[in-house]
Structure formats: C-alpha cells, structure tokens
C-alpha cells in the first residue's frame, strides 16, 4: 500500500463500523484500536445523527413516543446517513422512510405529519425571496392574466394527506395531554392539504387550506397557468372568490413573484 493510500484505508475501515449499531465493543480489527474507545466515537456518531433527526421531527416523535422514535430514527440513520456536513439538508427522505416502516404501518397519518415537519424545516432554511406583489398583478393587461405562469414561493410547500394531518400536527405542539387530543381527532374526516410557507423573514407559517385554495395551489405547483388553476379551484369550490383568496395567499407568501 502506498503511503498516500494508508490514511484513506484507515478511514474507510473506521467509517465502515461507525453506524453498524451493534453492541459496544465492535471495532475494526485491522486498525488495532481499543473497542471501548472506538465505541465512544460510534456512540457519538449515532446519537448525534439521531438527534439531528429528532430536532426536525418533534411532533412525529410525540405521536409514537421516545422509544419507538429512537428505534425508527436509528434505522433511518443507519440506512440514510447524511452526505454533507451541514445538517439542514438532512432528513429530507425521513417521511418516505416512515411511510414504509413496518412497525408504524397502522399509523397511516404518521408520514404525512412528518412531511409537514420537513416542510417547516425547508421553509426556515429557504432564501427570503420576495413573494407575489398583488399591485403588479393588478397592473397587468387582463387578457394576459389567463396565461400567466404563477408558481409557488421557493419556501412554500403543499402537504396533501388522506388523513387530517394538519389537525394532528396542530394538536401535538406541546407534550401535555397529547394522547387525549389524538383521541378527539376523527381520522375519518377526510383529506387535508396543508400549506407551509414563510410569511415573513423570521417566520414559518402552517395553514390548513380550504378545498378551493388547495386545488388552486396544487394546480400551480403542477405548472398550470393562472386561468387553469382558477378553473381547478372553482371545480372544488363553486363560489371560490379569487380576489379575496389571492390576498390571503399573498399574505402567507405562498406565491412567487412573476416576470411579466
């Protein structure tokens, strides 16, 4: 082995065992390092990465309890370790992991609550870009409005759930009485679409959308033009009042500025 390859090989051997999650005492034999001492690094690695996941998903954790979450997050970390040293990007695929995590299979809403939590983290780290300016929209030639390509603001996300995921998320903001609150939510009340956005520079907003707003924004998210998105909203909500709804959505900074 050439000298320049030795450090590389040492680190690969070391790294290969860090996330194995076996009992203390496992260490890479070829490195001749003490198992107990290696275990300190392995423990720190696993716990710190799990905590990084916990920080983003406190409501998901409350819904399943600390022990269940620890086991689930440890498995996520072992199979989806981060690839960059800034952890704000870490955990983006946790909700998908939760969705296929067998022990949580009977908690259909859990992954959607996790998606709301990820959307919040995403909104918080997004650039503080300006949102849609209604006066600019008002100045436009009405004939051009129909074909206007509006899009969601860079910090905004829509989370669709066949469950009342927003109600569940909102009911579990604090630790006390959570179980009772979950019992009071009728899981059969039907789907909810949640808007997560950055209404102000230092603020993340989470709002439950009515059916018209949900259809309007979902259509825009799928690259429909302004006119088609409005038609989608009217299909869901016959008396959809676009002028007043646009005002609210602009306040939430749900929409991006456009280039006329």
């Amino acid at each position: 082995m050439t000298p320049s390859r030795m450090l590389l090989q040492t680190q690969r051997s070391f790294a290969a065992r860090l996330l194995e999650g076996k009992a203390k005492g496992t260490s890479p034999d070829e490195l001749c390092v003490d198992a107990l001492r290696f275990g300190v690094h392995a423990h720190n690695t696993r716990v710190s990465l799990r905590k990084a996941v916990e920080n983003v998903y406190p409501v998901t954790r409350r819904l399943v309890g600390a022990d269940f979450f620890t086991t689930m997050a440890d498995q996520f970390v072992a199979h989806h370790p981060p690839s960059h040293g800034w952890l704000s990007a870490y955990g983006t695929d946790f909700a998908d992991f939760v969705a296929q995590y067998r022990p949580a299979a009977d908690l259909g809403y859990l992954a959607d609550v996790a998606r709301i939590e990820w959307a919040r983290a995403r909104a918080a780290k997004a650039p503080d870009a300006p949102g849609l300016d209604l006066t600019a929209l008002a100045r436009m030639d009405p004939s051009a409005l129909e074909g206007l390509p509006l899009s969601l603001h860079v910090a905004a996300s829509l989370v669709y759930s066949p469950f009342p995921a927003f109600d569940i998320w909102r009911a579990h903001q604090h630790n006390s009485g959570d179980d009772e609150q979950l019992a009071q939510i009728d899981l059969a009340i039907g789907p909810q679409t949640t808007l997560v956005s950055r209404p102000a520079a230092l603020e993340v907003g989470v709002a439950l959308l009515g059916p018209g707003d949900a259809a309007f924004l979902s259509a825009l998210a799928e690259h429909s033009r302004f006119g088609a998105a409005y038609q989608a909203a009217v299909l869901e909500e016959a008396d959809y009042d676009l002028a007043s709804r646009l005002g609210d959505l602009v306040c939430m900074r749900a929409l991006a500025t456009f280039i006329a």
Partner: protein
C-alpha cells in the same frame, strides 16, 4: 447601543508571505478581543441578542458555522442581524480537514459565503476527519499522526485559507484513542501545521484535559511544546465521566460547567501564553444565558488576575 470593539483585521490573505509564522499571526490578532471572553450563540438565546433595549453584556459570540449555511434562511438572517451588534467568531465542526479525499467544495463555498456575510473576527476548524466516501459522520474522528496525515491536513488547510482569503485557527480534539501508526505527538503535529500553513491554533483546554486523562498526554509538556504566538483563541467547556469502572474515560459533552481542573489548566495556560480570546463552549443541555454569563465572568476574572500580575 455601544458597538463592542471589533477588529476586522484578519481579512487579508497574508499566510502566503514568507515571514516567520509568529510575525504573520501577530498581524492577525483581533484588536481588543485578546483580553475578553465570548460565549457560544445558541438558538434558544437568539432573541435575547436581537433585543435592542437590553442586549446581553457579552463582548463577542461564537457560532457553529454549519448551522448558518443556508443563506437567507431564518437562522442565517438572525445571525446577520446579531453580527451587526456583536463581533462573531465562526467555528466550523464539519469541514473534515483530515480527509485525504479532499474537502467538500460546496461545504467550502458555503463557509466562504458565511465568512463574507458576517466578517468574523476569528475562523476556526478542528484537527479531525468526519467524512469518508459520500457519508458525513457528524463526529470529530481521530487521525493517525504521521507525515502522510500532515501532508493531507496541510493541503486542506491551504485550500481553506486560499478560499477564505485569511488564516484559520485549528483546534486540538478530545482524544479517546491513538493509532499505532502515529509517529509524532499531537503538540508536534499542531506545531508543524502552523509552520507549514501559517494557521493559528485554537487551544481547547477541556479537550487537552480529556486527552491527558484518556491518552496519558502530559498537559504541561503539551502546553510547553506548542508555539505561544500561534494560539489565537482558547475554548473552555465541561465534560463527563464515561467508559467502564475498569477503564474510565472522560467524555467531551459540552453539556456541563467547566471543571475545577480545567479552570486550573486555564490559569496555567494564560500564565504561559498571556491572555487570549476565550470562549465558553456549552452546546448540549444548553442552560440559561445567565449561567453562561457567569462562566464567562469567571474566565474574565482569571484574565484580569493574569493582567494584574
């Protein structure tokens, strides 16, 4: 409010010139901070530092660089506001200076953006690795101290300093294990780094104490061996007892008060090096701001005693 004294010296890229290392570092000393104590900025205290009416009485603040890597995000915006009122020290924990695979370019770019945004008084990183292949391990992992490792770390420091246009401080890690391949002591390794790259050192006395206990490093010898003028900052933190009854280890937790032994080591270090910007590092189980300020005040008293002597 009165803006605390801040030096912006250190922005110039002077590490390439050929004057002796200590001369170069002296030019980078942050005016007015040598005799002062900072604390770590923690999320739970951010609003206190944004309060215009009663800003907490701290001279400077240190931030974990990677927490502010999303330009325009809420954390980054808050930091930029705080940076208008307090000098900021940027402390990286994840650059992986010990990676023979080289540095993550995007990481370095984001660090450079942060440095451009907050014009920090100090920038520091660790003698460690934390990345291998495509995986980041979020832990400061140990290096065999060999000539090969020295070449790798020097190349990575050179690249960092070139990109940032300034010198950085490199911190001694908490030691839990040693490699049989090592051919030099940590103090010698760090000294060579300063000689070859012009970098300074961040002396973490809690880490040194832990390495002393866990690895049998003679802390007095260590302090005598490193170049005094290269020390640009000192860290103080707490630790906990771990390992087993038969094989006790000290564990670096940054989650407790500074211990009496580390305070004693601090007095010893200041008597040898003179006062240095000192930072209370407490980033897990973060206590109230008042507890951090009390720890800072204790460090300040020791600095004042050394100055009066």
């Amino acid at each position: 409010m009165n803006r605390p004294i801040v030096g912006t010296i250190g922005m110039e890229s002077s590490h390439r010139n050929t004057s002796p290392v200590h001369e170069r570092l002296r030019g980078q000393t942050v005016m007015g901070l040598e005799n002062s104590v900072g604390i770590g900025l923690r999320t739970s205290h951010c609003e206190r530092f944004l309060d215009q009416n009663t800003p907490p009485p701290v001279i400077w603040l240190e931030v974990l660089a990677e927490n502010y890597f999303d330009r325009g995000g809420i954390r980054h915006k808050m930091l930029c506001m705080i940076a208008e009122r307090y000098p900021i020290s940027v402390h990286g924990v994840a650059l992986s200076l010990g990676s023979p695979e080289g540095l993550d370019s995007e990481h370095l770019d984001r660090l450079a953006s942060l440095v451009a945004d907050v014009s920090p008084c100090l920038v520091s990183e660790h003698l460690a690795w934390s990345r291998s292949g495509d995986v980041y391990y979020n832990e400061l992992l140990p290096l065999p101290l060999t000539d090969e490792t020295l070449d790798v770390v020097c190349a990575n420091i050179d690249r960092t300093q070139d990109r940032l246009g300034r010198t950085i401080l490199v911190e001694n890690p908490s030691g839990y294990l040693e490699f049989e391949q090592s051919t030099m002591s940590e103090a010698m390794f760090l000294t060579r780094l300063t000689e070859r790259t012009g970098c300074g050192l961040l002396l973490d006395l809690n880490n040194l104490f832990i390495s002393g206990f866990n690895l049998g490093i003679d802390t007095a010898e260590w302090l005598a061996a490193v170049p005094a003028d290269a020390i640009g900052e000192i860290h103080l933190a707490g630790h906990e007892h771990g390992g087993t009854a038969d094989h006790p280890l000290l564990i670096d937790t940054h989650g407790a008060a500074v211990t009496d032994e580390v305070w004693a080591l601090y007095a010893t270090a200041l008597n040898r090096f003179g006062p240095r910007p000192t930072m209370i590092e407490w980033d897990s189980d973060v206590p109230s701001l008042e507890v951090l300020l009390k720890e800072a005040a204790r460090a300040q008293r020791i600095i004042d005693q050394v100055l009066a002597a």
